[in-house]
Symmetry: C2
Subunit: 310 residues, 2 copies
Amino acid sequence: MSVLALSGGIGGAKLALGLYRVLPSEALTVVANTGDDFEHLGLSISPDIDTLLYTLAGIDNPDTGWGRSGETWTFMAALESLGGETWFKLGDGDLATHIERTRRLAAGESLSQIIGDFCRQLGITARILPMSDDPVRTRLRTEEGWLDFQDYFVRRRSAPVVRDIVYASAAEASANPDFLAALAADDLEIVVICPSNPFLSIDPILALPGVRDGLRACRAPVVAVSPIIGGKAVKGPTAKIMTELGLAIGAAAVARHYADILDVYVADEADRDEVAELGIPVRLSRTLMLTLHDREALARVVLTSAGRGF
Amino acid sequence: MSVLALSGGIGGAKLALGLYRVLPSEALTVVANTGDDFEHLGLSISPDIDTLLYTLAGIDNPDTGWGRSGETWTFMAALESLGGETWFKLGDGDLATHIERTRRLAAGESLSQIIGDFCRQLGITARILPMSDDPVRTRLRTEEGWLDFQDYFVRRRSAPVVRDIVYASAAEASANPDFLAALAADDLEIVVICPSNPFLSIDPILALPGVRDGLRACRAPVVAVSPIIGGKAVKGPTAKIMTELGLAIGAAAVARHYADILDVYVADEADRDEVAELGIPVRLSRTLMLTLHDREALARVVLTSAGRGF
């Protein structure tokens, strides 16, 4: 029995943790967006993968929602004293992940191999798969010109008005073969699209060759969880970007965005009216995940939403 | 008026700090050994330069004798949890120096440019010059085979018996042109060979093309400070290596080692008999530098040892 989850960073990782905790050991495979990955200070940084690693390992920082627990910031202070770039915050412990990843990539290992080993080292029994071992980079055309994702999201705090989004090199990249194999596997019970930003976290995954076809062809139902609650994004620039791209903001619009691959939609009770006429099965639930119990409860709702027994 | 000091790490940096404090602003140029430099975890690390930077900036760690004050170790703990290599201790603040240096080297800047900027950022008004911008690597032939310097010194804690020492690529490297220019300058008042390990810290500098000739030709006296006190090295493997190389251990042997370039020798009072018949002027002093006052006092002894007025 296997469960496949597609996830971005923080919001997706919350549900991924819920799934990880309620599923049998080794049943869960999480495919992580790498469109946010970038090179900074000479280091290869994979924000969504690392959020998943830290969250599933139980070493995430509950105060910030990102980074590691027990983090220290001596590096950033020293970097500032040397006149270095400090707009992207790198914690001292977090640096170990980036330095070790960068070293091993330079030594010829694939990102998948490295993250698989990090999972083992951190005692994670789920699989975390980078969506691809080839670089795919989310770029945004804004009213101020083209911006790399982290430039837009962190340095500019999502302020520039977005006109277009591209996933550079996605068409030439190969989807992670373990991801495609998991999609085609006989024991796949369900595919979960986590409540991540559709444009910034999930679409980069769907843009890879073979992924949409694999999702349409797979035997298991594809269930998406709305990242919108009561018409608002829980976190991040989802609603802002939807407005700027001329899309209706709301839970229904996200479901329609996934229309060609979606079998079941899990939406928040607050959006009951909004999703009443989607034309696919809808499961209403509380979707805000504040506590560990919330994460597990939503995971159970998702897993049973398509009528499969778990 | 200018003063040129040749230095390795800890012992040399103590005297360099004394010189820095007693000399007028901008009078001091310290040429740092880079034979200990190495690449580790993908980072370019320059131990002797960094010890000089931290010491002259007043941010050195007085407890360990190396690294930065107020250092934290979150990175090392996280690296260990990922299965990374932990035999070389990198503090969180220290990492900023290595990451920023590595980034700027990759961007095409020379080590000299980078260290010059680090000095400005840290408010250091002395010049710290890497002996060369070309890589020179101290390697040791031991009874266990050839070892890179840090492998020998840190990983193996100087345990293997040393049979030979080479400064790989020194003959093909260019000495720092600012170093050679300082040697040839009319206003050079004195050249100080700091109490560093002759074989591991000073000889790599002397092995660069033009350096020995420049020292012999320069108008200023060359004064070396003994790294030996009462027949023992203050710190590190100097005495052990001298024995293994078949050299007499002692203050006189070090002076003879520098015979072709030396004008004055500053030795510890404890070695009075040992250095009595060297054939060059000797100045006896207390040379152990425990306090800041010790560093300044020894600096004054050195500066006046050749009869010049400071």
